[in-house]
C-alpha cells in the first residue's frame, strides 16, 4: 500500500492506544484517568506504555470509584482539561450514571455555554469473548437517550483512531464504546499521527440495491458476513456501519432505505428499548412511503446478557441476520 502518509498495521485496541498517544503528544490538556490504566496499561492494554511515556500526572491510576473519578474528570473538564476516562467494562459504568446523566451531559445547557464538559468516556463493551458474567453489557441506548451526550462506536481500527481523536477534540462529552470482541479480531492500515473521522457520519461498507443492513460495533462483521452470504444467493445489500450512535446519520440511512425499501438492523443489545427501535422510528419518519417490507431487527433478547456458555445463543449471528435478510426481501 502506498499512500501520502505513513501507516501502521494495527488492531482496534492498538489504534485506540495510538489515538491516545497522538493526543497526549498533541495537547497538554489531555489527561487520562481510570482503573489500572497506568502501570498496567489497562486490562486490555489500551493504554499500554502511555504512563511510562507521559508520566503519572497525565495517565492516572484512580481509586476504584467510577462515580468518583468520572465526577473528578467532570471537574477537570470544567477547569480547562480534556479528560479521557476509561471505564474498565461498560457493565461497570452504572455507578457513574448520575454523574454522566445529570452533570456531564447537562452542564452546557444549564449554563448556556458558560461551563462545558469536553470529556471522553471510553468503555469496552459487549459479549463474545468468554468474559466472566456481568462483563458483557451493550447498553448504548441508555446513553443515546441522554440529551447532551454524543455516543460513538467504531468497528474498525481506522475509524477507532480517527473517531477517538475527533471525540477528544469535540467540545462536548462523548461516550466512546469499544467493541472488545473486535479489539484484536483483525488489523488494518492506520495512518500515523493525527487525523479525524467526522462524528455523526456513518460509513457504507458495501453497496447493494436489495436491502439495507445497518449495524455498529461488534455487529458490523456479523452484518458483513451475512451480506456476503446473501450476495451469493443473489441478494445485494447496502451495509451501513453507523459509527456514531448519537446523532445518527439520518441522511445515509434514509437514502439507502429509500433506495432499497427494505431494512435489517443488527443490534447486540436487548430488543426492547434498543437503538434499533430508534432507527425504525427514523425510517418511519423519513421513508414511510418507500418501505416495501417491515424493518427487521436482529437483536439480543430481552434477557440479561447471559453467562458465556449461552452467549453464542444470545448474540446475533450471520446466520440469523441472513435469515432476516431473506425474510425481508421475500416479504
Amino acid at each position: 500500500m502506498t499512500t501520502a502518509v505513513n501507516t501502521k498495521t494495527l488492531t482496534l485496541v492498538q489504534a485506540v492506544n495510538d489515538a491516545l498517544r497522538t493526543m497526549l503528544k498533541e495537547r497538554d490538556d489531555v489527561i487520562l484517568l481510570g482503573e489500572d490504566i497506568g502501570k498496567n496499561g489497562g486490562v486490555f492494554r489500551a493504554t499500554e506504555g502511555l504512563q511510562a511515556e507521559f508520566g503519572e500526572d497525565r495517565v492516572i491510576d484512580t481509586p476504584l470509584s467510577e462515580a468518583g473519578f468520572t465526577g473528578a474528570a467532570i471537574g477537570m473538564a470544567l477547569n480547562g482539561f480534556r479528560p479521557v476516562v476509561e471505564i474498565q467494562f461498560l457493565g461497570f459504568i452504572y455507578p457513574a450514571y448520575e454523574q454522566i446523566m445529570t452533570h456531564a451531559a447537562r452542564m452546557r445547557a444549564r449554563t448556556m455555554g458558560h461551563f462545558t464538559v469536553p470529556m471522553v468516556i471510553r468503555a469496552p463493551y459487549g459479549a463474545g469473548v468468554r468474559a466472566p458474567e456481568i462483563h458483557s453489557d451493550s447498553t448504548e441506548a441508555l446513553f443515546t437517550h441522554m440529551p447532551g451526550m454524543k455516543v460513538i462506536c467504531p468497528a474498525s481500527p481506522y475509524d477507532a483512531k480517527g473517531l477517538l481523536i475527533a471525540a477528544i477534540e469535540d467540545p462536548d462529552p462523548v461516550l466512546f464504546l469499544e467493541p472488545m470482541r473486535s479489539y484484536r479480531a483483525f488489523r488494518e492500515e492506520v495512518p500515523e499521527g493525527k487525523y479525524t473521522v467526522e462524528i455523526g457520519k456513518a460509513k457504507k461498507l458495501r453497496e447493494g440495491d436489495d436491502v439495507t443492513v445497518i449495524a455498529w460495533g461488534a455487529m458490523v462483521p456479523v452484518a458483513l458476513k451475512a451480506a456476503e452470504s446473501a450476495a451469493k444467493k443473489g441478494i445485494h445489500a447496502d451495509v451501513i456501519d453507523l459509527r456514531t450512535l448519537y446523532p445518527l446519520d439520518k441522511d445515509m440511512i434514509a437514502a439507502s432505505v429509500q433506495k432499497t425499501g427494505r431494512t435489517v438492523i443488527v443490534q447486540e443489545a436487548h430488543a426492547t428499548g434498543g437503538l434499533a427501535s430508534d432507527i425504525v422510528a427514523l425510517i418511519n419518519d423519513t421513508s414511510f412511503l418507500y418501505q416495501k417490507a417491515p424493518v427487521a431487527r436482529v437483536t439480543g433478547f430481552d434477557v440479561p446478557v447471559p453467562f458465556f456458555a449461552y452467549e453464542d445463543d444470545y448474540l446475533p449471528t450471520p446466520a440469523r441476520v441472513l435469515h432476516a435478510i431473506e425474510k425481508t426481501v421475500n416479504f
Binding site: 489527561i31 484512580t62 473519578f69 479528560p83 452533570h103
Partner: protein, 356 residues
C-alpha cells in the same frame, strides 16, 4: 469522638472573643464587611420567601440561620478560587459575587440564573445531593496540575454525607492531595430527617479520619470561627497540604423549602429558642457592641442600602425579557445536532403559526 472533635468557637454566644490569638486579625473593616453581608443575605432571603408567597418566583430554598456559615466561608475565599454550591448556598454565592438578579432568575425557573458573572468561578448550584464533591475534587486537582495557588470550596449538608459521592469525593481529594475545602453545613436536618437517623456517628468531622485528612468541627453560627478556620483550610490547600473537612454546626430556622412544612417533623419552638440565643447576626452585633464597633446609624444605613439593592434586583427580575424557548435548544451542544435543530425548527414554526 465528640471529645476528639469539639465544636470550636472564636466568639461565644455573648459575642465575647474566646480565642484570643485571632484578636489582631479581627479588624473593623472585616467586621463591617461581615455585618453588611449578613444583613444583605438575610434581607434577600426573606425577600425571596415573600416573593415566593406572592407567586412571583417558584419554590424557594431559604437559608435563614445559616448566614454565618455562608458569608464567613465565602469571605475567606480569594477572587480566583472556585465555589461549588448547593441549592441552599445562594448566601455564599452572592457574597462571592453572584448578582442578586441571577439568584432571583434561578428561582424563577430561568437558565440565566446559572450563569455567574464573567470570570467568577461559581459553578451552578447542585441539586442532586453530594454530586458536587467529586467534581470539586477534580477541579481542585486541575488547579494543582496548573500549578496555581487557587483553591476550591465545596458546600454540602449533613444529609449529603450519606451519599456515595461524599465518600468518593473525599477519597479522591485525599489520594491526590487536591486543594479543596469540604465545607459541611450541618443544619441537623435533611428535610425531615434528623442527623441522628442519618448517621450513628456523633460528628461529621470524624469522617475525615477515614481519609487521613484533617477534620474540624466549628460553631457555624460564629462567623469568626467560620471565617478563620475556612481561611486556614484554604491556606493549607494553597500550600499543597491537601483537603480539609469542615463541619460547621448550624440550624435553619425555617422550612427546608417553601414547599415544606417543618412543623410536621420538628418542634419549631427549637428554632425560636435558637434564634433568641445563638443567632449569627445577633451574635456579631453583640460583639460589635461589646467592642465598640457598633454604630446605630451605620447599621441603619447598611440595612437601607441592602433594601434598595434587593428592591432593585427584584425590579430587574420583573423587567427581565421573558423566557426564550429557543434557549432550550441552543446550548445542549456547541453545535446543535440535527435532531435538536429539526425539533427546534419544527417547534418554533408551529409556535409562530399558533401565535400568528
Amino acid at each position: 469522638m465528640e471529645r476528639q472533635f469539639p465544636i470550636r468557637q472564636i466568639m461565644d454566644e455573648q459575642g465575647r472573643i474566646v480565642e484570643h490569638e485571632y484578636r489582631g486579625q479581627i479588624t473593623e473593616e472585616l467586621v463591617m464587611a461581615m455585618y453588611r453581608h449578613l444583613i444583605r443575605t438575610r434581607t434577600f432571603d426573606r425577600k425571596c420567601v415573600s416573593l415566593q408567597r406572592q407567586g412571583r418566583i417558584g419554590p424557594y430554598v431559604p437559608f435563614e440561620g445559616q448566614e454565618a456559615c455562608q458569608v464567613g466561608s465565602a469571605l475567606a475565599l480569594e477572587d480566583e478560587d472556585w465555589m461549588f454550591p448547593t441549592y441552599r448556598d445562594h448566601g455564599a454565592m452572592m457574597t462571592f459575587g453572584r448578582t442578586l438578579t441571577q439568584t432571583l432568575l434561578y428561582w424563577k425557573g430561568r437558565t440565566e440564573g446559572c450563569i455567574p458573572p464573567q470570570g467568577k468561578k461559581i459553578v451552578p448550584p447542585y441539586v442532586p445531593i453530594a454530586t458536587q464533591l467529586p467534581q470539586a475534587a477534580g477541579a481542585a486537582y486541575a488547579e494543582k496540575r496548573k500549578g496555581t495557588k487557587n483553591a476550591v470550596i465545596v458546600y454540602f449538608g449533613d444529609g449529603a454525607t450519606s451519599e456515595g459521592d461524599f465518600h468518593e469525593g473525599l477519597n479522591f481529594a485525599s489520594v491526590f492531595n487536591a486543594p479543596v475545602v469540604f465545607f459541611n453545613q450541618n443544619n441537623q436536618y435533611a428535610i425531615s430527617v434528623p442527623i441522628t437517623r442519618q448517621m450513628k456517628s456523633k460528628t461529621i468531622a470524624q469522617k475525615a479520619l477515614a481519609y487521613d485528612i484533617p477534620g474540624i468541627r466549628i460553631d457555624g453560627n460564629d462567623i469568626f470561627a467560620v471565617y478563620f478556620h475556612t481561611k486556614q483550610a484554604l491556606e493549607r490547600a494553597r500550600n499543597g497540604e491537601g483537603p480539609t473537612l469542615i463541619e460547621a454546626v448550624t440550624w435553619r430556622y425555617g422550612a427546608h423549602t417553601t414547599s415544606d412544612d417543618p412543623s410536621k417533623y420538628r418542634d419549631q419552638e427549637e428554632s425560636k429558642r435558637r434564634r433568641e440565643t445563638t443567632d449569627p447576626i445577633m451574635r456579631l452585633e453583640r460583639f460589635m457592641q461589646r467592642e465598640g464597633f457598633w454604630d446605630e446609624n451605620w447599621a441603619n444605613d447598611v440595612q437601607e442600602r441592602v433594601n434598595a439593592e434587593v428592591e432593585q434586583a427584584v425590579a430587574e427580575m420583573d423587567r427581565y425579557p421573558s423566557a426564550n424557548p429557543e434557549d432550550m435548544f441552543d446550548y445542549v451542544f456547541a453545535e446543535p445536532t440535527w435532531t435538536i435543530a429539526e425539533q427546534k425548527q419544527a417547534y418554533m414554526e408551529w409556535k409562530r403559526g399558533m401565535e400568528g
